[in-house]
């Protein structure tokens, strides 16, 4: 649901609303109070729309060289200028935005699913399973993310799907840790005992009673992690370990511009700005989300 629609439902909302709508409304109210989170949210929506719709609206081919117009400065014809092969940077950034966002989202989704499952199993069953899983997670956490991704990709080979897997793998321990902690706190609550006493199976308790209660830290972590995933994805391409030329992934565009930094700064400038914008939007939004979902902040 986009924010405009949310606003409308808020106006329409009356006391007869279904309870989940009411809690959504409360949540939105809290989010709106946090101005930077709201700006982050709008920015994310705009970026997503551009990433999805943009590639269909551009008229130029992002990969086709035209040496007659190489290294041109920004102009009315080429808004962001052209690169050393004469390709339109604006077109390439629009296409690259899609690739980078796609990698960021998919890797975060994959990693969070795996991390959530591992974390819940670890926290819920405890004991030896927990000890073994968490020690393994500690090992993964000991590597800096990008280093782990680099190592994985050099074992595999540089390709878009491998970049996604590599980022997903280093997402797992962060999610697993948070989820395990929340599961530990939730599983000892009385309503979980009550559900057990009513004959619910472990799978049912986990999926219907623990998972919905630990969802908010997962959402916050996911929105913050997307920023991280985007940086890593473009970092990998920048180092030549991710997307391969002529792919217009944002990190690769940055890397292209590196050689012409003093003569044609615009080649690196615009992709860099867009990466910064994505990361900033998700970080600011994630922080605001955390404040809005944290019950301790509500008292203020």
């Amino acid at each position: 649901m986009n924010t405009e629609q949310m606003k409308q439902t808020n106006i329409k909302a009356t006391k007869k609303d279904r309870p989940w709508k009411r809690s959504l409304k409360d949540f939105y109210k809290k989010l709106v109070k946090n101005k930077s989170a709201l700006i982050g949210g709008y920015l994310i929506i705009i970026l997503i729309i551009i990433a999805i719709v943009g590639p269909f609206l551009t008229t130029l081919d992002p990969a086709k060289p035209d040496y007659a117009i190489k290294l041109e400065e920004p102009s009315a014809d080429h808004w962001f200028g052209t690169d050393h092969h004469g390709r339109d940077i604006f077109t390439r950034v629009i296409h690259g935005l899609w690739i980078t966002m796609f990698i960021g989202f998919t890797a975060t989704i994959l990693g969070s699913i795996a991390g959530v499952i591992i974390g819940i199993v670890s926290g819920y069953y405890g004991g030896k399973i927990d000890a073994v899983i968490m020690r393994f997670m500690d090992i993964l956490l000991a590597f800096p993310g990008i280093l782990l991704a680099l190592a994985l990709i050099s074992i595999l080979e540089p390709s878009r799907s491998n970049v996604i897997y590599a980022i997903a793998i280093f997402a797992i321990p962060t999610f697993a840790r948070i989820v395990r902690g929340s599961t530990l706190a939730t599983k000892n609550l009385e309503y979980i005992d009550a559900m057990k006493a009513l004959g619910a199976s472990d799978l049912r308790i986990i999926s219907k009673h623990i998972f919905p209660n630990i969802l908010s830290p997962i959402i916050v972590q996911a929105s913050l992690f997307i920023a991280n995933a985007v940086i890593t994805a473009s970092g990998l391409s920048f180092l030549g370990m991710g997307e391969q030329p002529p792919s217009p992934e944002l990190g690769a565009l940055l890397s292209d511009g590196r050689d012409f930094m003093w003569d044609a700064g615009h080649i690196a400038l615009f992709p860099g700005l867009v990466i910064m914008l994505i990361v900033l939007a998700f970080n600011v939004f994630g922080d605001g989300l955390r404040d809005a979902l944290d019950p301790k902040m509500n008292k203020k």
Partner: protein, 343 residues
């Protein structure tokens, strides 16, 4: 007891294995519950009463473990059932209500969804029939305008209302045995009376047997037919409810009764039982109550008495009622106050 027995617990032993130590929380508990009757399990915190209840449904958290004994429910030994079989019994044939109604309901689901869930697990009812049954159940437990309540979340209800919802959930599948673990402790006094009344009414209406776990002798007097008094993981006295108030035998039972205010006698000061329940980690060697008992003799501190049946049918675990009693032969446990003072 000639009636049909629904639950027969025999020498139940439940321990917690901590750092290689075995901490005996329940140590050889035995009692029988006739069908349709209520037994009260009474004792201080740490006496093992809740662990006994948890053992029946095998809801013990790690590192708790049933070390031995039998729990015969309708001729089946519950300790020998598989996880799947015990799950079919939980909430279906044996239900449990908990102490804290404020936290015993999941905050993310409506009342209706939570009641429906039990019905779905055990009877496979779909949403529509489940909701209908949920409304029936809420009416049964005396919740006004149940049609609206099923759509509400737990935080929109008061403590008493939530406990009623818990009872409705527990009753969803017409259980034959209801275990109530201090169901009124967290509620205020007027609500307590209402909830106890409700449990009693439902019991006679539905023909359930009830295990009432409590530390409140008032609750016992109100609801129970039989009483098992627990201390240090063992049953120290078992009697029917009238006899326990008329002629309590074990000094601990007397202590419990003396520590509650009474309306019929004028007492200036209540008499607490001195000291605390011993930790299961270092139980006294002899009678577990000996260190706090005003009558304790050398025999009491050295040897553990057995649970013996008395002339009037009650059972008591105390040396005073045996031939080997080495203290004052004229001792009267009900005059504990005077005795304690004269010592």
């Amino acid at each position: 007891m000639n009636q049909e027995t629904i639950l027969d617990i025999n020498d139940l032993r439940t321990s917690f294995l901590v750092d290689g130590f075995e901490v005996k929380a329940v140590d050889g508990v035995s009692f029988k519950l006739p069908k349709g009757k209520t037994i009260g399990i009474v004792g201080e915190s740490g006496s093992g009463k809740s662990i006994t209840a948890m053992s029946i449904l095998q809801l013990l958290d790690k590192p708790g473990k049933i070390m031995g004994g039998e729990i015969n429910f309708k001729g089946r030994d519950l300790t020998k059932l598989s996880e799947k079989e015990i799950r079919d019994i939980r909430g279906n044939e044996i239900s449990m209500i908990f102490q804290e109604p404020m936290t015993s309901l999941n905050p993310v689901y409506t009342i209706g969804q939570q009641i429906r869930e039990t019905l779905k697990v055990h009877q496979g009812l779909d949403k529509q029939r489940g909701t209908k049954k949920a409304i029936e159940l809420l009416t049964l437990v005396g919740i006004p305008s149940p049609e609206q309540r099923v759509k509400q979340y737990p935080h929109e209800l008061s403590g008493g209302m939530r406990q009623r919802v818990m009872i409705a959930m527990a009753l969803a599948c017409n259980p034959e045995l209801l275990i109530a673990d201090e169901p009124t402790t967290a509620l205020d006094v007027t609500i307590q009376a209402q909830i106890l009344e409700l449990i009693k009414d439902l019991q006679s209406e539905l023909g359930m047997s009830v295990i009432m776990i409590t530390h409140d002798m008032g609750v016992v007097a109100e609801t129970c037919d039989y009483v098992a008094v627990m201390y240090g993981g063992k049953v120290v006295e078992y009697q029917d409810v009238k006899s326990i108030f008329k002629s309590p035998k074990h000094p601990y039972t007397v202590g419990l009764l003396n520590s509650i205010p009474r309306h019929d006698t004028d007492v200036d000061e209540l008499e607490p039982i001195k000291g605390n329940v011993p930790s299961p980690k270092d139980m006294p060697e002899g009678c577990r109550f000996a260190p706090r008992c005003p009558f304790a003799t050398e025999l009491c501190t050295q040897e553990l008495p057995t649970l013996d049946t008395q002339a009037d049918g009650g059972e008591v675990r105390c040396w005073i009622y045996t031939d080997r009693w080495d203290g004052d032969p004229e001792v009267n446990v009900r005059e504990s106050k005077r005795t304690a003072e004269s010592e």
